[in-house]
Symmetry: C2
Subunit: 121 residues, 2 copies
């Protein structure tokens, strides 16, 4: 099964999204996913197995719990594959650097205001 196939399943994508917030036990992931997708505990466990065996997650045991976390390896590979197509929509990197520099200069001239519109109460 290719990394893209692993991400083809909506349950597995959701699990990774949940893990993006940080390490979580299988049970917590399972509860959320079962509620959202209406599938059984074994189904969730099998999805976790696929993610594990394809390198998308790491696991560590703490007592009877299994704590899952994102392992970025395969996601990086996908990102690398996408790189060959990014020129179809992304501006060249040089322009991006210019943009960033411009943003910094403007902020400096305005007197170190924060980036967004929030104000400190």
């Amino acid at each position: 099964m290719h990394a893209f196939d692993v991400l083809g399943d909506p349950v597995r994508r959701r699990i990774l999204e949940l893990l993006a917030a940080g390490e979580q036990p299988a049970g917590a992931l399972g509860e959320t996913v079962r509620r959202e997708f209406g599938i059984s505990q074994p189904a969730v466990s099998q999805h976790l197995k696929v993610l594990r065996e394809h390198g998308f997650t790491t696991v560590r045991a703490v007592g009877t719990r299994r704590l899952y976390a994102v392992d970025p390896g395969p996601l990086r590979e996908i990102d690398a594959w996408l790189a060959g197509f990014r020129r179809f929509w992304a501006p060249p990197l040089a322009a991006l650097a210019t943009e960033l520099a411009r943003g910094r200069r403007e902020r400096r001239l305005r007197g170190n205001e924060p980036d967004d519109e929030r104000t400190n109460p």
Copy 2:
């Protein structure tokens, strides 16, 4: 079928890679892919259909030919989804801008040499 499932197939990924070099007729794509994967012409045509119907390619007819080209829409969506995980491996953008600026400064001091090691013969 989700965009990730579309990219799950190696034949479809290869077709997109070939199209990254520019617009090509179905026949040319078919020849390459048939050679590399040993599948039939209808099989290739069916893969092209999947790519079309999921927005990965555009097609235009020229006589009896069908010219396919990359349509970046779904690839961008995938890129956007990946963005939520990029912090697991990519440096923050501010650091990148600094890096780029440093590179430019160094080049300026060296007297506008090219980036790589090539020398003009």
